[in-house]
């Protein structure tokens, strides 16, 4: 076999499998997005099975664009993804720098820190929304009650009591509410994925050029400027990797959103598709095509950012 043929042959299974995996469902979705296809329709039973005679052209797309939740779902998708990325990168860098130097119990701290990454998304959501963020039964209620108790007792303290009597009593927040449910999702996913960022940054920090650092110290560089001009540039590549991987995973968040609020005030595109798919397969498919377009726009940005560095 020639030198060229064999490599191609070795790649074939993976490429073919992925091609099938992408093309067949995507083709079907595309087809469904152009026909009327409703699972329950007593009035028009012919719409309940896919058929070319139900051709609707761009009708499903129009229907989706006019849906009041559509723009919101796109916005919310982006808000959630960007917030999580922002928080995990910042926290990840800070924690990685913090635990990079050896200290007593470093190994144990590292083990504790990475544990959230192994938790199933569904367990993560159930745990946080019920046992931690719940305003009555969760730890949030306890924490707020505790803080209020402290404030109340300080109000009776001699001397400073007047100061604390100006403080309001805190109210527990319901994270299932329309305005706050996105925050709950952001909190729980940040908790889960910060360890991932920490791991990557930590590995990268261990390979930082120590001689350069020594030179900087000799030159009298402050800790901050060492961080700013040596560590941060060194981390730029791992940061790009963290951003890329996480964007891929978080654009398709679903379990967390469903468990927290059942989409109440907190839909993202996958969730909106899921809602449509309960009955209107045509609309769900059209939304799916929009989601594919959005993912590709994000992908182009990400790949521009990272493509070169990875191929070096």
């Amino acid at each position: 076999m020639s030198d060229r043929k064999l490599p191609r042959l070795l790649q074939t299974p993976a490429v073919v499998l992925l091609l099938i995996w992408m093309l067949i469902p995507l083709g079907m979705t595309l087809y469904f997005s152009f026909i009327r296809y409703v699972l329950n329709s007593l009035r028009r039973p012919e719409w309940t099975s896919p058929s070319l005679s139900n051709w609707r052209g761009f009708g499903n797309y129009q229907f989706v664009l006019n849906n009041k939740d559509f723009l919101f779902a796109i916005q919310n998708s982006l808000v959630i993804v960007c917030s999580i990325l922002f928080l995990t990168v910042i926290l990840g860098v800070l924690i990685a720098v913090l635990i990079n130097k050896s200290f007593p119990g470093q190994g144990i701290v590292r083990v504790l820190l990475i544990s959230p990454f192994f938790v199933m998304p569904a367990v993560n959501a159930v745990l946080w929304i019920n046992m931690i963020l719940d305003p009555v039964l969760g730890l949030q209620g306890l924490a707020v009650g505790g803080i209020n108790g402290v404030i109340t007792s300080l109000q009776n303290a001699p001397g400073v009591g007047w100061f604390f009597s100006l403080w309001p009593q805190l109210e527990p927040i319901s994270f299932r509410a329309t305005q706050t449910s996105a925050y709950a999702v952001i909190i729980m996913v940040t908790w889960q994925w910060t360890p991932f960022a920490v791991l990557i940054f930590m590995t990268s920090l261990q390979s930082e050029d120590q001689q350069q650092k020594e030179a900087a110290v000799l030159d009298g560089a402050s800790t901050w400027s060492q961080f700013r001009f040596l560590t941060l540039p060194h981390l730029s590549r791992p940061i790009a990797i963290v951003v890329m991987i996480q964007a891929i995973f978080h654009l398709s968040l679903y379990a967390e959103i469903e468990i927290v609020s059942r989409g109440n005030g907190n839909k993202n595109l996958p969730y909106l598709i899921g809602e449509f798919a309960n009955n209107n397969i045509g609309a769900a498919s059209a939304t799916g095509i929009f989601a594919v377009i959005l993912a590709n726009i994000v992908a182009i940005f990400l790949l521009r950012m990272i493509g070169k560095t990875l191929m070096e």
Binding site: P13, M28, V123, S285
Partner: protein, 277 residues
């Protein structure tokens, strides 16, 4: 090194203290879940920070008796193991060819592979359900293994590719001179050299398989249902069964967390895609 070794008080006292606080904070939700799993349902919803209580195993016994935990767990193990093996089986040759015989298309193929990960699962769920049901493979181990393999294949190829690229080409060349054939190259030279990378790739793939919920929940009913499905069915609403809920959750994530602890070093290597140096 002596110069860099900080002697400031921050380094000596505050850093460890702060690090420990952060570590404990991050672990706390898991700790709380495990703690709650040993409480009775009545204790679990008491409006106080109950650290000391009479522990009970009832939740776990209840779980194994009423929910058939072991069947779900077995399914999780079977599907994750086979999916990981299959992904490696397909991914290793592919990554090998890309790393050692790159063509002009290699970069594009890699990018395209990753882009298949961006296809929102929800968008193609209905067609997939339709298709698998009509093929008669809905709710089978075969289907779940296949799906898990396919969703993880892009990441696995990427990781392996970056590892293989690190291996000096000369070694492979030397092997060729000695008359080793391609299969021999892979078996005798590549796999031993890249063993660490392959192991950490496998580990990460296994974790993603184990935790995958979207497809496994929706493409199964009973036969091939994994632990994700058990959680999905038991996320008892409105907090009345915290004890039970915690036990089910702890039993679902316990094995993978422990595995993660043991394989921490491997994982650190694996997660970096070889690109962090």
């Amino acid at each position: 090194m002596a110069i860099v070794a900080e002697t400031s008080r921050f380094s000596k006292v505050s850093r460890p203290v702060l690090a420990w606080i952060v570590g404990l904070l991050f672990f706390f939700p898991i700790f709380w879940m495990i703690l709650t799993s040993f409480k009775t349902d009545a204790d679990a919803v008491k409006p106080e920070f109950l650290l000391f209580f009479t522990p009970t195993l009832d939740n776990y016994l209840n779980m194994t008796e009423n929910y058939d935990y072991w069947r779900f767990a077995t399914n999780s193990v079977i599907t994750s193991v086979f999916a990981t093996l299959f992904t490696l089986f397909v991914g290793i040759p592919c990554a090998y060819a890309m790393a050692f015989n790159p063509s002009r298309a290699t970069k594009d193929v890699l990018m395209w592979m990753l882009s298949t990960k961006m296809l929102p699962a929800a968008a193609v769920l209905y067609p997939m359900t339709f298709l698998t049901k009509s093929l008669g493979i809905f709710d089978t181990h075969f289907l779940i293994v296949l799906v898990l393999s396919l969703i993880n294949l892009p990441i696995v190829v990427w990781m392996l590719f970056t590892y293989f690229k690190e291996i000096p080409k000369d070694i492979i060349e030397a092997g060729k001179m000695d008359g080793v054939n391609t299969w021999g190259e892979v078996k005798e030279i590549l796999i031993p050299l890249a063993w660490g990378g392959i192991a950490s790739t496998a580990l990460l793939c296994f974790i993603f398989c184990w935790n995958e919920a979207y497809w496994t929940v929706r493409l199964t009913t009973t036969e091939a249902a994994t632990l994700s499905k058990l959680i999905e069915g038991n996320r008892a609403p409105e907090g009345l069964f915290f004890g039970r809920l915690s036990a089910v959750s702890a039993a679902a994530v316990g094995p993978i967390i422990v595995l993660g602890w043991f394989c921490q070093k491997q994982l650190v290597q694996g997660l970096t895609f070889g690109a962090v140096k």
